[in-house]
Every structure is written in C-alpha cells, then in structure tokens.
C-alpha cells in the first residue's frame, strides 16, 4: 500500500480533511470523558452496602406525643412486628446505609490526637482522626441487617444503653467498626480491643469489625465506608423499623407492618414515602445518577453516530467526485481490493490524525472536569481503547462508500463526464 498518492490527494482537500479530523478529535475527547464518567457513576450506583439488601424493608414512624416513653413504645412495636408471619427479624434503628440521615462524629484513635484535633478545630486533616457515620439500633441489629463480621463478636446484652433525650447516641462501652475504618484508624494492626475516642465521650472498645458498612450519605470514595455501629438503643420518637423477610414477602410484610403499627397507636405519623423496601430506597438514592448515566450513554452514542455519519457522508462525496480517476486506476490494472484499501487507508489516516489531537483534548477536558466536577484523573488505558473504538467506527463507516468505489467499472475511464 502506498501512502504517497493518498497524502497528495488529501492535500487537495486540506480543509475538508482537517474538519473531519477536528470532528473525530472532539468526539474522541468527549466520548473518552463521558465513558469515564459513566464508569464512575456505575461504580457509585453499584456500591455494596454490606446489608442483605434484597431481604430488607423499612417503616419509618414518627411519634407525636413528645412525653411518650420511646423505648417502651419501640419494644411493643417490635414485638408486634416480629409476630407478622414471614418476618424473620425486626429491629429499630436510627439510620441505614443510603438512608440520607447521617450522624457523624469526630473520632480518633487516642485521647491525645482527639485533643489535638479539637484544638485545631478539624477532624479531617489529622492523621489519627476521621469523621465516621454512627449507627445505633436495638439488640440483634447486626444479624437482622445481615452484616458480615470479619473479626470479634456482636454486642453483648449488657452493653446496650439508651440515649438521653436530645442525644442520638448514648455513652456506651463498645463499638463495632467497618474494615475500612479499622484500616484507616489503626493502620492495619488488629483493631480488636483498641480504644475509640468519639465526640468527647468516654473511650469505647472496638469489639468487632464488619466487612462492609456504607454511610447513610455518600461523600468521597475514600471515606464512604467509614462507619461505626454502637450498642445504643434509639431514644427518639422518630425511628425506623427494619424487617427481614424473603424477597417475595416484602410487600406483604410492609402492608401488615403498617396495619400492626397503626393498630397499636393510631395517633402517629407513618409517612407513605418512608415505607419501602431497601431496594426502593437504593433506587431513590441513586435516581439522579441513573438519569445521568442514561443521559451520558445517549450522548456518547449520539456523538459516535454523528461522527460515523460525517465519515460516511464525506466518503460518499469523494467517491462520487473521483469516479473517473477510480475508473482510470482500474483500467490500468488496479484490483477492486486496491481501490477498497485506498479508501480504507485514507480513512485510517484521517481518523488517526483526529485521535492524536483527540487524546490531547481528552486530557485537557479531563483537567477541566477535575477542577469543576470532582472527577478523578482519566486513567491512561482509556486512550488506546478510545482510539481503537474510533478506528473501528471509521472503518465501518467508510466500508459502504469504499465498496461502492471498488465496484466502479474500469470502463468509466473511457467515458467523458
């Protein structure tokens, strides 16, 4: 294959070829970043919570009477909920992963670091301190949620305490932390038995480590798994009941739970939008991201379509324009394959030029997005994949016109226009 004739022919169509190159470059830059954004969002949407998600459903209840004994009310409610056929476990919790209701406290691995962080008024840039989310719940929470313990034990019955009014978490002797938090606070050394200083309370002892426990509200990827479970019984009159059942029983169990709770005390609020399965809550939490994923996907496909369209359209023009010279080439001995390969090579060159420029643009665009939209750096392997994709797309788009060119009979050479 000789490149010389292709290059000199392209020189005649400098402007058009450059425009096509520019289009390929823009497409390459945008599509690379869009695909990267899609990958990021998909990663978010599929983050594991650590819970037995498909078996859980929740009912949020808001008591109206402020002087009511919340603990007694919860105990009576839970007894009624556990009596519903199909419910294998029921607990009262203050919050759940992806429930958006987040209580987080400055937490340190030692008293000295805690005091130092308080003095500096920051928990975030101190090596021994972080700001994890805290979950509290009634006994049996660990098993009911289906959390996987990778070390240590569940809370003992005598470790549970009730939070004072106005406080969300009681002073408790022990805590169970997520593996990510254990690694961050104790640097991979065995976390079990160590002390945890949280929000100015007496130290807690780490008695267990769970594999995964997502926050109620996501932040940056590196801190999303920083969470602590404490044996503190919710003392608020606003509480969420978690019911565990088989996936197919969830709807029935929820309806039965609402009936049972209203039957026990009709004078309270059970917001209908807070009566849902865990799967529904996850879907609602990530609704924006799923919308965004489909929009990003649509625009990436749209861009590729328009670019393919441009390549095909342009090749079509060029084939029509060069019918005579193709005929002459065929007449003096070029095979159909030669003609086909000529157009393919021409396309390969133009798209190749576009890709080189596109990679630079992709990087520049990524830098801008990193600045304004907290997007991580584009991994380098996206670029060769993007290049291959565009080359394949170009070849596919030019195939039709190129075949038509190859079909031009040599006799065209002998005709005048």
């Amino acid at each position: 294959m000789q490149l010389r004739p292709i290059l000199s022919s392209l020189r005649h169509h400098k402007l058009t070829a450059l425009l096509l190159m520019l289009q390929v470059a823009l497409t390459c830059a945008i599509v690379c970043n869009v695909v990267f954004m899609i990958a990021n969002r998909v990663g978010q949407v599929t983050l594991p919570s650590g819970l037995a998600e498909s078996e859980l459903s929740m009912v949020q209840v808001i008591g109206i009477d402020k002087n009511e004994n919340a603990q007694a009310r919860h105990a009576a409610d839970l007894a009624a909920l556990r009596a519903i056929p199909g419910v294998t476990a029921a607990v009262a919790v203050d919050s759940l992963p992806l429930s958006r209701s987040d209580s987080s406290y400055g937490t340190c691995d030692s008293l000295e670091t805690f005091i130092r962080a308080m003095a500096a008024r920051s928990m975030e840039d101190n090596s021994g301190c972080v700001q994890p989310s805290v979950y509290s719940g009634t006994p049996g929470e660990l098993a009911a949620l289906g959390l996987k313990l990778v070390g240590g034990r569940d809370f003992l019955a005598d470790e549970y305490a009730q939070a004072a009014p106005g406080w969300t978490v009681a002073n408790v002797p022990s805590a169970i932390i997520s593996r990510a938090l254990a690694e961050r606070l104790y640097h991979g050394r065995d976390a079990l038995g160590r002390s945890l200083y949280m929000g100015g309370r007496p130290p807690m002892r780490v008695v267990g480590v769970v594999d995964t426990l997502l926050r109620p509200r996501l932040r940056t990827p590196d801190v999303n798994q920083y969470s602590v479970l404490v044996p503190s019984v919710p003392g608020d009159n606003e509480v969420t009941y978690v019911l565990r059942s088989t996936p197919k029983d969830r709807e029935r169990v929820l309806a039965a739970a609402a009936n049972a709770l209203t039957g026990l005390d009709p004078d309270r609020l059970i917001p209908p939008d807070r009566m849902r399965t865990y799967a529904e809550m996850r879907e609602q939490y990530f609704r924006h991201d799923t919308t965004m994923i489909s929009l990003l996907l649509a625009s990436a496909l749209g861009l590729l379509f328009v670019t393919a369209l441009g390549i095909t359209g342009l090749a079509n023009f060029w084939v029509q324009q060069r019918r005579r010279s193709i005929g002459i080439r065929r007449a003096i001995g070029a095979s159909r394959g030669d003609i086909l390969r000529y157009f393919q090579a021409e396309n390969f060159l133009i798209v190749g030029g576009g890709i080189v420029l596109g990679m630079l643009l992709a990087f520049a665009l990524n830098l801008i997005l990193m600045q304004h939209y907290e997007l991580p750096r584009l991994p380098l392997y996206y670029l060769p994949i993007g290049a291959l994709l565009l080359w394949a797309l170009g070849q596919l788009a030019v195939l039709g016109p190129a075949l038509r060119a190859a079909a031009v009979p040599p006799v065209v050479a002998t005709r005048s226009v």
Partner: protein, 437 residues
C-alpha cells in the same frame, strides 16, 4: 433572485435526500439537546420577583471566629444571621422595610374526627415580610409589628392549606392547632409563588411548592418551635438556648432599599455595626467583611444550579459543536463537488457574492429545517425533564423568549456552519474549473 436561489437550494438538497435528512437530523439533535438544557438553566436562574428584585437586598455579616474551620461539604454558617444580630438590624430600622425569617415544619392536627395529623412546611417571619415581598392575600391580611412585639398567636395560611382545612369557607378568625399551640388565622395568601423560592436558606427546596403557613418569628422563638433549616453553632450552646444564642446562625434577613444612596447608606451601616461588634469582642473578622447582596447576586452566591445540570448543559453544547463541525465538513465537500457548476456560473458573470448568497441560502434551509426539528426535540427533552424526580422539574417549560432563542440559535448555527464552505466555494476560479469539464 432570492426565490431562484431558494429553488436551486431545494433542488440541490433533493438530489441527496438521505444526506440532507441526516444533516438536518444532526443539527436538530444538537440544537434540541442544547435548547433543552439552556431552558432548564434559564428557568432555574430566572428572576423570582421581576418588579421588585432591584430593591431587595440580603445583608451578610460574618460573626464566625477567625479560627473557624468550614467542613468540606457543609453550608456556610455565615450565610444566615444569629438572633441577636437579626434583632439589632430589625430594631435599627435603617431600610424601607426589613424582615427576618426562618423555615418551619410543624405538625398540624386538623381536629376533625377521622382526620390524621400531618406535617406541613411554613415560615416564621416578621411583619414586613408580606409588604416587602408583595404577598397577595385572598382573605384578610398579614399581622402587624405590634403582633410581633406581643408575640401574638396568629397565623397566615397558604391557599392550598386553607382549602384543605376550611374548604371554600372563610378561614379568618378560625383557630388552627400547630404543634402544641392554637393560632388564630388572620390572613390567607392568594396566588403568590416566587420561583425559585429565593428567601429560604440553602438547605431548603428552592423550587416547587411555597410555604403553607406563616407565623410571627417572635412567637416561634418564645414557644421554641422547631426550625427547619441550617442551624449552625460554633460555641458551646445548650440545646434549649440555641435559638437566641449569639453563636448560632439560623435566620435569613431581607431588606428593601429604594435607591443607590440608600444601598450605600445601608452598607455603611452594616460595616459600622460590624465594627461596633468587633469593639465589643463579639466579631473577630474585619468589619469590611460585611456585604450587601442584591437579590440576583445572592441567588448567584447560593448557586442554585446543581452540578449535574451544568454538566448536562456542557454535554449538550459539546454535542452541538460536534454536530456543527460535521455539517461544516459535509457542506464543504458538497459545495466543492459542485465546483464545475459554480465556475460555469462565475464564467457567465455571477459575482462572488452571488455564489456566496446562493450557497448561504442552501445552508440556511438546512438550518431552518434543523431548527424546526430541534424545537420538537427540545419539547421532547423538556417533557422528559419534567418527569425527573427533581424539585425544579415542573418549571421546565419553554416561554416565548426561549422559543425565539431556539430559532435564532438554529439559524445562527447553520449560517455559521455554511459561511466557511460558502466562502471557500465562491473563491473557485472560473477558468480553471472550466478546463476540466
């Protein structure tokens, strides 16, 4: 001549129907996507009070200690005022009108048998709120400054809530039980729903349903009613005194100022007030930190547009850019392919500008068709935006200015796209091309 060129253009476009259709489709998609997002952004950053916004201002004091560290994802506590500062600004009475306010969420017990209690959103405010924001009343009116001072148990209802409670009947003078207390209805708000809801704090929903009740702020503080909004403390405040603490911000404050002289005077007053608080040791930041934002500037400062929406806009514009490049390349190839035809016309006496006009009309036809298609696609896009589960979704409608904007954008885009090819083609030399014929 115009009709003739139009005829040529249509003939030329008909010669390649598939390609023409695809060009129109490409430009239509680009325009449609861009106009959808521009419209969404337009309604989100629209002026909520077109006749009054020039006179409404938000004073911004900064009582935060020098060593206060803002946490990464939280709101800025200094965007709201503390109770002592709000009271001081109210008492000073330096503006035409001034009002302090905060979000409210209370339990409402309808009191009729068979009805269950429910939570409603409303606002605690001082008396000037209604006159300053031009609230229209369906029945009755707002409360007075005397009611503020007396901590009166009065309430103004939104019209949705009024209908829910009293049907079509007159609600004035009736009693409504909110939380643990009874309030006497003095007014029912008519059709008044500024969008975005500019006067709330950053945590609240800025689009969608308006407040369903209004209570005197002094009464709310007196009864320690629940506040719905950012409550940011930096001192050692106890839960039961937080509302009146000097180190807890939770109040929004608006003033009405008539002319630039008043604005300057009010700003000076704020600087003086900050200096005085500095001297007392309450404020630590320089007095010049005190700022006075206009309504639109304040909305800009609060940045109501979610990042995702802005990203979608850039994506749509990027898409339009690629579509435009595509059209330029295709038109260029198409026009240059007709070099022979052009050079014949040139040799027969057509001037460059005739050729330019002829080809320009051809690209404008594509642009016009693309614009019409883009308008349809934008309506489809807005329809899909309206079905998003967002508070701004319902606002996504095109008004006349957006409609015209779509057309101007479409024509401008395609004429721009046609300029380069037409310019290149009209430079075709007459003789040279004739030789190759």
């Amino acid at each position: 001549m115009f009709g003739y060129y139009l005829d040529i253009a249509l003939r030329s476009l008909r010669r390649n129907p598939v390609l023409t259709a695809l060009m129109v489709l490409a430009i239509g998609l680009g325009i449609g996507a861009s106009m959808t997002m521009i419209t969404v952004l337009h309604v989100m950053t629209d002026d909520p009070m077109p006749r009054r916004s020039g006179q409404l201002f938000y004073p911004h004091l900064n009582p935060l200690p020098l060593d206060y560290r803002q946490s990464g994802d939280g709101p800025d506590p200094s965007d709201n005022l503390t109770w002592p500062d709000a009271v001081a600004l109210l008492k000073a009475h330096r503006a035409e009108r001034q009002a302090a306010m905060a979000g409210a969420e209370l339990l409402l017990r309808p009191g009729r048998p068979g009805t269950r209690p429910f939570n409603i959103h409303g606002r605690y405010a001082t008396a000037d709120f209604f006159a300053m924001f031009g609230v229209q009343f369906a029945q009755g009116q707002g409360w007075t400054a005397a009611d503020d001072d007396a901590r009166a148990h009065v309430v103004v209802l939104g019209n949705t809530l009024s209908r829910k409670l009293f049907g079509g009947a007159d609600g004035i003078g009736q009693s409504v039980r909110l939380g643990e207390h009874d309030f006497r209805v003095v007014g029912v708000v008519g059709d008044w729903q500024p969008q975005p809801v500019f006067y709330t704090d950053a945590a609240a929903n800025r689009f969608g349903e308006a407040d369903q009740f209004f209570l005197p702020l002094s009464t709310a503080v007196d009864l320690k009613l629940d506040v719905n909004g950012n409550f940011s403390s930096w001192g050692e405040d106890q839960a039961d005194t937080r509302m009146v603490s000097a180190s807890t911000t939770w109040l929004q404050f608006w003033v009405q100022l008539r002319d630039p002289a008043q604005v300057a005077a009010y700003h000076q007053f704020m600087v003086d007030y900050s200096a005085q608080q500095n001297a007392l040791g309450r404020f630590q930041r320089p007095p010049t930190d005190a700022k006075l934002y206009g309504l639109m500037a304040w909305l800009g400062h609060q940045d109501l547009v979610p990042n995702d929406v802005r990203l979608q806009l850039w994506l749509a514009l990027g898409f339009l850019l690629v579509c435009m490049t595509n059209i330029v390349a295709l038109l260029l190839a198409k026009f240059l392919r007709r070099s022979g035809e052009i050079s014949v016309r040139r040799a027969l006496g057509a001037r460059r500008r005739d050729i330019f006009l002829q080809l320009g009309i051809e690209s404008a036809v594509i642009g016009l068709a693309g614009g019409v298609l883009g308008l349809l696609i934008a309506q489809l896009g807005l329809w899909s935006v309206r079905h998003r589960p967002d508070d701004y979704a319902q606002l996504a409608q095109m008004d006349v200015s957006m409609l015209l904007g779509t057309f101007v954008l479409a024509i401008a885009a395609s004429v721009l796209a046609g300029l380069l090819p037409a310019w290149r083609a009209c430079r075709v030399a007459p003789a040279l091309q004739l030789k190759t014929l």
